[in-house]
């Protein structure tokens, strides 16, 4: 078994704190819950970096399957919000880990995922269902999309991220 020691400096701590603030702001997650989830995710990500990605990928896959299983669209959106809150934390910590272990630009692709997850969280937090249409109103703008198409698209983002971390692991 490989033991990984992760040193957290003050810059990393302040980044984690700013992530917490974003998540709190976007999804109303309380501090204790976030720390609990964040710690679990951090442990998983640390394992991920030494080649034990299966558990993380399996956990994400499970969340995706559970989200897709819920047929009622009005119930689906809160599930997606939950999934994406966790995903945002995963990608945020993954970004930090990549930078710490591999170099200052090594987290750029994951950071782009993180920001994509953040945008989706923002959408989900500002969305209403009108029949089978999801209406997002943000910053004075409005867009509409069929809710099933929207769900397919955001789940594809999850699959894409899981695919990335799995391939990364297999190429070590």
């Amino acid at each position: 078994m490989t033991v990984v020691s992760v040193r957290i400096d003050s810059a990393t701590l302040s980044e984690i704190e700013s992530i917490r603030e974003h998540v709190e702001e976007l999804a109303g997650v309380d501090r204790a819950e976030f720390i609990r989830r964040g710690a679990a995710v951090a442990i998983e990500i640390a394992k991920l970096d030494v080649g034990q990605v299966e558990k993380s990928a399996a956990a994400l896959d499970k969340m995706v399957r559970e989200a897709a299983k819920v047929g009622d669209d009005s119930k689906l959106l809160p599930v997606l919000l939950e999934v994406y809150t966790a995903l945002y934390a995963v990608a945020a910590l993954d970004t930090i880990i990549q930078m710490v272990f591999r170099g200052q630009h090594a987290g750029d692709v994951v950071r782009a995922y993180r920001e994509s997850f953040r945008e989706i969280l923002m959408e989900l937090s500002n969305a209403e269902l009108e029949g089978d249409t999801l209406v997002v109103r943000l910053g004075g703008e409005e867009k509409k999309e069929n809710v099933r198409n929207y769900v397919d698209r955001v789940l594809e983002e999850v699959r894409s991220y899981v695919n990335l971390i799995n391939k990364r692991r297999s190429r070590k």
Partner: protein, 167 residues
């Protein structure tokens, strides 16, 4: 200033949304503008800059503005100043430039369209929309108070470079 060659990768679903590729030549920079016909599904154009900063006629850094934040990459971290590999991720078309330490780039582009080498049309400074140069209005509220003007950023970096005299 000789512009580098740009190799572009875009997710298949977004390829048809890239409608223009423009090149803006400034006194100490070149900005490659990639124009998409939407931004996160909102029906406005998304102008993504990939800027190359020059010092003494040589490219010294790449400057990006993914998701309304700055990303500055020294040319030495890219490896080659002659060819830049750039991917545009997701529906927000966040640009990522391939660097020497980035193992995820090659994995990510496996399912993308590309690489292709766009033909750039030259554009004057005045022809670039002001909200492309400084997209603050689209970035609120999280970037409140931040400066996002790409030309001002390049000027600031250039001046720092002159003062430091190192890069």
């Amino acid at each position: 200033m000789e512009p580098p060659s740009i190799k572009v990768y875009i997710p298949r679903s977004e390829r048809i949304h890239l409608i223009k590729q423009l090149i803006e030549k400034g006194p100490f920079y070149i900005i490659f503008w990639f124009v998409f016909d939407h931004d996160w599904g909102f029906g406005r154009e998304n102008w993504e800059p990939v800027a190359v900063k020059y010092h003494s006629g040589q490219p010294s850094a790449v400057v990006l503005r993914p998701h309304c934040s700055w990303k500055i990459i020294d040319m030495q971290d890219i490896g080659s100043a002659e060819v830049l590999h750039v991917l545009f991720r997701g529906r927000g078309h966040a640009p990522v430039v391939k660097t020497l330490d980035d193992v995820d780039f090659d994995i990510e582009v496996e399912e993308y369209d590309g690489p292709f080498e766009p033909k750039f049309e030259e554009v004057n400074v005045s022809e670039v929309p002001s909200q492309a140069v400084d997209p603050r209005i689209w970035c609120l509220p999280r970037t409140f108070g931040q400066r996002l003007d790409i030309r001002l950023k390049l000027k600031e970096l250039y001046e720092i470079q002159i003062i430091e005299g190192t890069r």
